[in-house]
């Protein structure tokens, strides 16, 4: 089994997603490019000490929308 297929299968299994062999193969075909693009997010010098664009508020409440 080519390595990307095995890795994709392992990751999907870990998430409990019952993808077919055909779906795994399709995802594996794009997986090296996905991994390369994702790794590139760590490369720019400007991101080394950047805070993430996440939100968290200590006083937040869940408010219904109606």
């Amino acid at each position: 089994m080519p390595e990307p297929i095995a890795e994709v299968r392992m990751l999907l299994d870990a998430a409990g997603l019952p993808a077919s062999d055909e779906e795994v193969a399709a995802l594996a075909a794009h997986y090296p490019a996905l991994r390369e693009a994702t790794d590139a997010l760590y490369a720019p010098a400007a991101v080394r000490y950047a805070d993430p664009a996440l939100r968290f508020r200590a006083d937040a409440q869940i408010v219904d929308w109606t």
Binding site: P18, L27, L34, A37, W65
Partner: protein, 473 residues
Amino acid sequence: MSELPLTLTEAAAALRAGTTTSRRLTERAIATADRADPVLGCYLHRFDELALATADAADAELAAGVDRGPLQGIPFGVKDILAMAEGPTTAQSDVLDPAWGAGRDAPVVARLKAAGAVITGKTSTMEFAIGMPDDSKEFPVPRNPWDPATWPGGSSSGTGAGVAAGLFYAGLGTDTGGSIRIPAAFCGITGLMPTFGRVPKSGCVPLGYSLDHIGPMARSAEDCAAVLAVLAGPHDSDPDCVDAPFTAPRCPDDLVGLRVGVVRDGHFPPDSDPALLDAFDDMATELADAGASLTPVTLPYRAEMLTANMLTLACEALAYHRTDAQRRWADYYPATRAMLARGALVSGADYVQAQRMRRVAQDALRRTLTDVDVLLCPTTSVAAPRLDAFLSGASSIMTLLGHIHTGYWDSVGNPVLALPMGFTSAGLPLSVQLAGRPFDEAGLLRVGQLLQRRTTWHLRQPAPVGASAGVAA
């Protein structure tokens, strides 16, 4: 059709001048849907009786001097991932729990109702706003009124096609990777993705919590401004939504003093439509002729923001869907499954890194937008693709990605206005984006209004579609 107003703004003026009524506008909208929707697949649910009752109420109020503003009495479509009390919300999926949002209005829908809009129905999308055209389940496949053999774009497909075909004057779309601007582009209409946090997104089936935008799709920038003025404003249920006042701007006389950054890098791949470059240059020339100064600009961290958009969307969507996906995998469409699965292929650290990179890109773009006031770039570099390739499985969203230039803006959260800018040799619409500083929708809309005063692309209409028009899908 030509005897009734073409734009929302014109229709609002006609209602107040007494030259038409909301009932006439609504009956025309219903008749157009009767003819065209069996081909176009814009609606998942229609509210004909409710719409006529709302129209009559609008006419009565206007006659009594009760003026709720320009949306009063205007036929309007709502994308079916937004909750509305009168009808089910399906998100074009067999998976969504019918109890979700049942009997309730999303805040934006409540605001439309309070403004007197005549909501004619819930419009089609792609499954959970991330699928692709697929005829394997019972939902309609949305088609483009400019050529029903082509895709209207997505995921706000039904809203885009419906505005273009005259089923309603305006509608709500949502945009997480381009889902307002892509159908606006392919259908030849105007679409506004507001600043992230301008419009409350509660009551919308989430796709990407940190990327979702709700915004207007209509024929003109002036129409979009009128809708945004109703939608904008904070709501306690959406912690991202801020209190930033918005008032629909007036069209300026010229653009003297406006600094426009013209973005070309990455937006004109070799297999772009042959008409794209000239159409884009013509729009840049219009801006210059109106007094604006033009400067070449490169978008900072473009590749990283495209990755961040896809990665963030996939991870946030998987978090929402994972329990259902584990149990009901086969009930999702294949394209939806493929996108959700991508969220499992990256790590938690990767997700956080994408959010760090978004912060860096936001800051770099902020600096870019101190040198220029707005940025100009194509929305897509091709026109609407044929549907048959998607329906046969020969094409997927991956084949289009290099031609779609919207996801960058969802990652950074700035407002973007997509405007028609011409046609291909096959008669399909092309579109340009104007992007601005956060919460400067008014600035974008001023520029858009002036461009649309100088051009007529937004007023072009496709030939009538449907049985009585003699046009088959």
